[in-house]
Point group: C2
Chain length 342, copies 2
């Protein structure tokens, strides 16, 4: 049985209302009373009960974050950004690892609602219809990070994947590469998969380069699928001098598979990644990649969330996060990399 406001009031010989005022720094108490109460609080070791506060105050100072996966460099960086800003604003964060399972995320939504979170951040996964409806029914504000809903108008903070992929491809083209392989995400991923694919294709087209479908393969953004991607590419025996991987993890998978096969990066093959997680920095050789400002996106997401909350505003203002190309060691001028199958 913990010690409550009542105990403090009794100990200090005042009413609970006075204690409450002092604890919450509200006007209306004398200097001497304050001292008395503060001393009692100190002596008794009183801690306010946030649950009780939440019940009457109708705010819990808590937000929920749904992530498809929390281990991994991408999600954890995002989460760290969210936590850092949330804390600064006086909020705690519930992590929910949905594992991209619909039933899990529905359960999470339910629990978060029951726990009366003040807001929710939905991160980097596609939304099913059922989830969308559940979200619609939510009374708290919801913000998407690193994803968006095509069917429901939730505000989001996210880089423009199409444009980023377009720019990345152009970068490779500018370096003189012409036969460029592409390892994408799942093709039915309308958020992170398709737009990058489209951006790639459009950039190729705008530069007058034909698309060779044998050079278009798809994975799931993970390391192993990057390895597999390169294997598929190699099996096609079609000439190419660069590969654009849709995630750093896949790009590192390409590096790894290339190493196994005795292919030297960047001397034989150029590799471009996407995300700029620490994996890019740690890679051998260090990976040239398209950066997403993950920690900043986390920050922006909670800022946006809290703004909407304060304004009780449905005012949907999306935030376009900036992408940029971080040059490291995996892309050289075309003339300096041999290429494969030429």
């Amino acid at each position: 049985m913990s010690i409550t406001i009542k105990d403090v009031a009794k100990h200090a010989g005042v009413s609970i209302a006075t204690v409450s005022r002092i604890v919450n720094n509200q006007p209306g108490f004398g200097k001497k009373t304050k001292e008395k109460v503060l001393k009692s609080i100190e002596e008794l070791g009183y801690t306010p009960n946030a649950i009780a506060r939440g019940l009457v105050g109708r705010e819990t100072r808590t937000i929920g974050v749904l992530l498809p996966k929390v281990s991994g460099l991408f999600a954890s960086k995002l989460l760290e950004g969210i936590e850092t800003t949330a804390r600064k604003e006086g909020y705690s964060v519930f992590v929910c690892h949905t594992d991209s399972k619909e039933d899990r995320s529905i359960q999470d939504l339910q629990v978060l609602k029951e726990k009366q979170v003040d807001g929710m951040i939905y991160a980097s996964d596609q939304l099913s219809l059922a989830q969308g409806q559940l979200l619609e029914a939510m009374t708290c504000p919801i913000v998407f990070v690193s994803t968006q809903s095509l069917t429901h108008p939730f505000p989001y903070v996210k880089v423009d994947d199409y444009q980023a992929a377009y720019d990345g491809t152009s970068y490779l083209l500018t370096k003189g590469h012409e036969q460029i392989a592409f390892i994408g995400g799942e093709q039915d991923d309308l958020i992170a998969g398709k737009p990058r694919d489209k951006g790639f294709r459009q950039a190729m087209k705008d530069h007058g380069m034909p698309i060779n479908e044998a050079l278009m393969v798809y994975g799931d953004f993970r390391f192993q699928s990057g390895k597999k991607g390169l294997r598929q590419l190699l099996a096609a025996k079609t000439p190419f001098s660069a590969v654009f991987a849709s995630s750093d993890e896949m790009a590192v998978g390409v590096l790894s598979e290339a190493y196994d096969k005795g292919i030297s990066v960047p001397k034989d093959l150029a590799v471009l990644g996407y995300d700029n997680t620490m994996a890019a920095e740690m890679a051998i050789p260090p990976l040239t990649t398209i950066a997403q400002p993950l920690d900043d996106m986390g920050k922006q997401a909670v800022t946006l969330l809290l703004t909407i909350r304060e304004n009780r505003g449905k005012a949907i203002s999306n935030i376009e996060a900036e992408h940029e190309i971080v040059e490291r060691k995996t892309v050289l001028l075309r003339k300096n990399t041999k290429g494969l199958f030429y």
Copy 2:
């Protein structure tokens, strides 16, 4: 204004007590009543308020996790294990990123207490005196993962770092390496730093190998400090054929620096890591390392926590997590690696 148990009661024409019983599956209601109430709940879209429940029931089904860092492969894997098991048991988890800052973790402790968490998991960081006292004063059970308190008897789940380092070193010795460099964590880290250092030294000693202090350097478990570590080692110009890094990140740093310097792993130098995070799998070449079962440790931690909670038991039972050596590609027999400065 959300819809409450009262609304359901009114709608169904019963008392709130009955609704409560039905919602909580407690004995004492008729079949027809149940149907009626369930229908009302369905129609109104009622969701119980966990905050109110928490206030009366004195349990919030929430646990707090304190991590020095949440981005990164190590912590996020641990966190994922914790979340997965917590969810299975019906608990939500608050993440707190302490950044190893004492004021932050003290704030976190305070907040978690106010939010009435049912338990706390303190992960992989050393405990200061002030934190220890705060933890002592906590009314909820507390479990340590991947760390322990030397001054306070909190239960922990953790691998035996001394033994693991001893075994890792023995492994290298068994492969025929004799001059082995060691890159440790902070030397004043009594939990993860010192024991590994001791295990290393003892293993060397037991195998009759002298310790060359020029081959003992220290970092902070991070990538960059691994790079720096190898640089220091190289500067010493003392012969060695293997390096034992106290974390995978540092080991990958060694790989990276070796690559920069044109040193081939494992042909010129053997490298052994510690942790077996995904960094080890993704490394080039794939890293031989001492595995900590992070997800299992996360699982064990919450299981232990809940057990203590149920038994209201101070019964301290620590859990020793199993370590094992995962052989990949960075360690060969001594005769197959040249070594440096010989």
